[in-house]
């Protein structure tokens, strides 16, 4: 490595604990360029639906630790949500594992300004709470509207914690995304961050659409205006032209480039680390990289990547038409997954076509949540026409929008009366987020509000009222602080215990999925962290198959003895767990569920403990039936458990509307016994 300076620690020119100023200075003084390795986040997000488990990714950490990287992107974006929902591992666990295994590496996240790691704008106090509780060194923060105002809260907390803030401009190719436009965004950013000494600026080409001359020109324009600004280029490879674009950006002065292991590269992620290094060096640009370690990491990936074939997109190969439809790398696999599940995979070419027209009607950047808004809106339109009018209908609507946008320049009056009517209902079923965006709830659109007809099409008769309600403020300024105790109490009630701080943050971001995750982990413990991927996905398949793992410093082995045949919805599995034979009954989806009604509402009387209902009513008045009036404090049943009697007391005056148990029933604690209507 002739480009590496010899010293005590030649590889880590930056490391955790350095101030933002020190990091920026180190990059500036670097001869040549350096890399952010996105192998632990965006590589998986772009081509493997974010399914790469920390169990496998952590095998790369020892190599990353000595690779001489600028940073490792391992956190944020959709990896956060998918971790909770599908991998059942939390971003907090991942960071803790990686910190231990690669202490020299700056850990990097991707955060959606006011949306943080979720899908709605959060008020300032929640942003501050979450950012202050996530242990990340480099905070790459973007806005799908390039509304820099929305970044302020994240920037303030990151800077206050002494971590590096990396404001990001969302990049796309369109007639309106000129250098002047971007320079105005950069100016806002430099103003927000009081100069260029403590930030790295990222250009985020999330779809992989920036052509070579375009990106060279943009980098050059920024460097002309802000010579000291350190620039990072994040470019997806979807159009097949990424590597020359990277070189052009490097030659124009960009310093940091996003790459990933060659063996992780498919079609929508980033360029291969070894190839980029070789290409740059050959072109005379030194690269700060310990190539031998990078080669080992590339090789390591091959040991486990085969377990993720199922997660790859069914839509294979580069797609140069991305320059028109602009679906970002990260959204590709998930969109195709949804299309496959919803059985409309065959409509994908039509949906992509509609997207390419749609993005000329409403102007923003196709990155979360914008990409989701685009996807849901466009796939909704195509699906509706396909359902109602078949293939002919799909051809018709594409033809209509195409003529309206391309030939008539969105001049409604140039269309026939019937076509006008159709366009004016086109967006009526658009998702709520689309409507929120039109109302300014996410911030200012980069090119201002869309045309009036869009509001008429979306809101129908209410369009004028809705237009008058549009907000110019950033959500940071329009959203009042939310009481953080409320959701904490809610979560406590849901899980029946005090949640950890980390569980609470998961819940703030993704309430429904966090609950399901917490329930899963309460039941299955650390299975997501300790099981190899093949066992995680398929279990043990034949008698004698075994899995070895360590848990909290002790060795464990699980060996399969047999899996029984299904009987009445139950399968018995016999395994040896550390040599002890255990039999597990597993419910299949066909298992009969004995539903036990639990007391929930204020009118429900539940069993205080497990036991037998040996008397309904009381000795004075005899049995109690539905319709009877009962008095506050009156005994209405008696429950015996282990030879102790427990009186069930009516807690208020009322009429019994239902007796939910029979005499001599065995009941569970909390089981519904009576419903009483207050009188």
């Amino acid at each position: 490595m002739d480009t590496m300076k010899r010293g005590t620690a030649p590889t880590d020119f930056v490391r955790p604990g350095m101030t933002p100023k020190e990091i920026v200075a180190a990059v500036r003084s670097l001869q040549g360029v350096c890399f952010t390795n996105v192998g632990m986040r965006d590589a998986g997000q772009s081509d493997f639906k974010n399914r790469h488990r920390i169990y496998d990714l952590k095998t790369l950490a020892p190599y990353y630790n000595n690779m001489g990287l600028f940073s490792a992107e391992c956190h944020g974006g959709a990896r956060w949500h998918v971790g909770i929902m599908n991998r059942r591992e939390t971003p907090f666990e991942e960071v803790a594992i990686l910190r231990e295994l690669m202490p020299n590496v700056l850990l990097q996240t991707l955060i959606r300004e006011t949306n943080l790691f979720g899908y709605r704008p959060y008020p300032r106090n929640i942003i501050e709470y979450v950012v202050a509780n996530v242990d990340i060194d480099v905070w790459r923060c973007f806005s799908f509207l390039n509304d820099v105002r929305n970044m302020r809260s994240v920037a303030e907390v990151v800077l206050k914690r002494g971590r590096l803030f990396e404001p990001t401009i969302s990049f796309t190719s369109a007639d309106w995304t000129t250098n002047e436009y971007y320079l105005s965004v950069v100016r806002d950013i430099v103003d927000l961050c009081s100069g260029t000494d403590e930030i790295v600026l990222c250009i985020k080409d999330m779809a992989g659409v920036g052509d070579i001359r375009r990106i060279a020109s943009l980098v050059d324009a920024i460097k002309q205006k802000y010579p000291d600004l350190v620039l990072q280029y994040h470019r997806h490879i979807t159009d097949g032209l990424a590597m020359p674009a990277l070189l052009a950006a490097a030659q124009a002065g960009a310093k940091i480039f996003d790459v990933q292991e060659d063996s992780l590269v498919r079609f929508y992620g980033h360029s291969p680390i070894l190839s980029v290094q070789a290409y740059f060096e050959e072109s005379g640009i030194p690269v700060h990289l310990v190539r031998s370690e990078a080669e080992k990491a590339v090789q390591k990936v091959r040991e486990w990547i085969g377990h993720y074939e199922w997660a790859e997109s069914p839509f294979k190969g580069f797609d140069h038409t991305v320059t028109r439809h602009k679906m970002p790398g990260g959204a590709f696999p998930s969109s195709f997954e949804q299309a496959e599940k919803g059985e409309f995979l065959h409509l994908m070419p039509s949906i992509l076509k509609v997207m390419s027209l749609y993005n000329r009607i409403v102007k923003y950047f196709d990155v979360t949540p914008g990409s989701q808004i685009t996807w849901v809106t466009c796939s909704g339109i195509v699906n509706r026409y396909a359902k109602e009018r078949g293939d002919a209908g799909v051809r018709h609507i594409i033809d209509l929008i195409e003529r309206f946008v391309e030939e008539k320049a969105q001049d409604l009056r140039a269309m026939t009366e019937a076509e006008q009517q159709e366009l004016l209902t086109l967006l009526r079923n658009a998702p709520g987020d689309f409507k929120n965006m039109l109302l300014g709830n996410y911030g200012r659109l980069p090119m201002g509000w869309p045309d009036e007809w869009v509001y008429r099409s979306t809101f129908g008769d209410e369009w004028e009222k809705k237009m008058s309600e549009r907000k110019e403020l950033s959500p940071l300024d329009s959203l009042g602080n939310e009481d953080i105790g409320g959701p904490r109490q809610e979560l406590t009630e849901h899980i029946g215990r005090v949640p950890t701080g980390e569980e609470f943050i998961l819940y703030l971001m993704h309430p429904k999925d966090a609950l399901s995750m917490i329930e899963f982990r309460d039941k299955f413990g650390e299975a997501p962290l300790v099981l190899p991927t093949d066992v995680w996905r398929n279990g043990l398949r034949k008698a004698g198959d075994r899995v070895d793992f360590e848990l909290r410093g002790k060795p464990y082995t699980i060996e399969l003895v047999s899996v029984g045949a299904e009987y009445e919805g139950i399968i018995h599995v016999v395994m040896r767990v550390n040599n002890k034979t255990r039999v597990y009954s597993v419910d299949t989806p066909r298992a009969k569920k004995v539903e036990i009604r639990m007391a929930k509402g204020p009118q429900d009387i539940g069993a205080p403990i497990n036991g037998n209902i040996w008397r309904i009513g009381n000795p004075e008045r005899g049995a109690i039936r539905a319709g009877d009036i009962v008095h506050k404090g009156e005994e209405i049943a008696n429950l015996e458990a282990m030879k102790m009697e427990n009186a069930i007391i009516a807690s208020f005056e009322g009429q019994i509307s239902e007796v939910c148990v029979k005499l001599n029933d065995t009941v569970q604690e909390g089981q519904l016994l009576f419903v009483i209507e207050k009188t």
């Binding site: 399914r51 279990g539 848990l551 699980i558 767990v577 597993v586 005994e635």
Partner: protein
């Protein structure tokens, strides 16, 4: 008059049945188990030499069914009956029936059982023997009687309503307020009727923060009465003991001698034979003790006395039943250990809700200073019809600290029970609590410290966590890849 016993029918189940069979085995005496339908595969059934089915699940049809039990004794060739504790242990009618059937009754005479079983009569006898008693009122049938007595004797709430025929913590209720009197009185009467076939009740002043101390007595039919020192049984939940120890940490030597001799005097006075216990409530601030009741049976916690004295109380009961004199004098009894017992009940440790079901895994603690009395085996069922006690864990050491240390080790490291919830986490919290360690506690300790005790529960162990992983592997091995993945 001496007679031999060749085969004992144990009219019980679970822990007491198994405990009695152990001594019979030592003495080469045959055993007969009785069982109800759900107990067909229970532990005590297989410990015995022969086993006889005596009826269905409800106790009145099986373990309280006197005629069926006596028939079982005859048909199995048993010549003696030991009632254990609970069920028919303090039922004088049963004792009489056993004797009338020509069988040996291993217990005190029906007359003594009857006398002591009636709390009102027992109290009168205690007064006669100059044993201090708690102020109270007998034969209560309505709440006005209680109110009048409270007014006359200037007694304030709380008061205790007790079934005259009750025992073992059953059929008694503490009443805090006047408006609870009616409900409480009818509940005690009903429970008493159901459990003991008699609804006579008495009401007593409730000694706040009292300590519960009892004296173990053994006596033979030659008139020798010897005490085996006291036990402290203060830690209770719902009036049922869950931790006992011997000796008592709350007595000094003078009080110890006084309480033990008072108990011996009373038992001599009433002509008691075999093993029995005199229970007292001890008011620590005033250093006064009051007579509570006599338990005319082997007690759950007899094991700690055995450990500190080195004697076998069940063996003594067999000897006395055979007409032999006690082989020792009072001056021969020298306790030289400290012993601690915890009751492993199948209950939710947070709210005492019963937890019945199958014990899927049972790993019993071993190691120095540990004795386990178990009524179950791995794979056994705990049916919902009977007492929740399924195992006693007893440790002993040179002093109290030693015994606690061995108990801590047994509960925290070596005990593993899967399939049912047990009190183990609560028991561990209690013996680790500073008040327990310093010996400062009352009968209300558990209710007063419940939240604190629960907060001391250990949430997880690495073995539990490994089993969660195994559960996952089992599910996926059976079901294959899941849609949520």
């Amino acid at each position: 008059m001496t007679r031999d016993i060749h085969k004992v029918l144990i009219a019980n189940r679970g822990v007491p049945a198994v405990r009695i069979m152990h001594t019979c085995r030592d003495r080469k005496i045959g055993t007969t188990a009785v069982y109800s339908t759900p107990d067909r595969l229970a532990h005590h059934v297989f410990m015995a030499d022969t086993a006889v089915h005596i009826g269905e699940a409800p106790p009145v049809e099986s373990y309280l069914n006197m005629d069926r039990i006596i028939d079982a004794a005859r048909s199995s060739g048993s010549d003696a009956v030991h009632p254990g504790w609970g069920f028919l242990a303090e039922n004088h009618v049963f004792a009489r029936k056993v004797i009338d059937a020509g069988l040996v009754w291993i217990g005190p005479s029906p007359e003594v059982i009857s006398m002591m079983g009636d709390k009102i009569e027992a109290k009168a006898l205690a007064i006669k023997a100059h044993v201090p008693t708690i102020p109270g009122i007998s034969n209560v049938t309505n709440i006005d009687q209680i109110r009048t007595w409270m007014e006359q004797e200037q007694v304030s709430f709380p008061v205790m309503i007790k079934a005259s025929a009750g025992g073992g913590g059953k059929g008694m209720l503490k009443v805090e307020r006047d408006d609870q009197l009616g409900q409480a009185l009818s509940q005690v009467r009903s429970e008493s009727k159901k459990s003991f076939g008699d609804e006579t009740v008495l009401v007593e002043k409730y000694i706040e923060r009292g300590r519960h101390i009892e004296v173990q007595i053994v006596a033979d039919s030659q008139g020798n009465v010897v005490h085996l020192y006291e036990r402290e049984c203060t830690l209770q939940r719902r009036n049922q003991k869950i931790i006992e120890e011997a000796p008592s940490p709350s007595l000094d030597e003078g009080l110890r001698q006084e309480i033990c001799y008072t108990a011996t005097r009373l038992m001599r006075e009433i002509g008691y034979t075999t093993a029995g216990t005199v229970e007292f409530i001890f008011d620590a601030p005033t250093k006064k003790f009051y007579f509570l009741e006599v338990n005319t049976r082997l007690q759950v916690e007899h094991g700690i006395t055995e450990l500190i004295t080195g004697l076998d109380i069940v063996g003594i009961m067999l000897d006395v039943a055979m007409g032999r004199p006690l082989p020792f004098k009072q001056s021969d009894i020298h306790p030289n250990r400290w012993a601690l017992e915890v009751r492993l009940n199948a209950e939710d440790p947070k709210n005492f809700s019963p937890s019945f079901g199958k014990i899927t895994r049972l790993q019993v603690p071993m190691g120095p200073g540990v004795r386990v009395a178990s009524g179950v085996y791995e794979g056994a069922d705990i049916p919902p019809y009977y007492d929740s006690l399924f195992m006693l864990l007893i440790t002993a050491g040179a002093d109290r600290e030693d015994a606690i240390r061995a108990m801590d080790r047994s509960l925290s490291r070596n005990l593993r029970i899967e399939g049912v919830k047990t009190l183990a986490p609560l028991l561990l919290s209690i013996i680790r609590h500073p008040s327990f360690i310093s010996g400062e506690f009352s009968t209300r300790f558990i209710e007063e410290h419940m939240d604190e005790l629960i907060s001391m529960f250990r949430d997880e162990s690495s073995e539990d966590e490994a089993l969660k992983v195994a559960r996952y592997v089992a599910e996926i091995s059976a079901l294959g890849p899941q849609t949520w993945m």
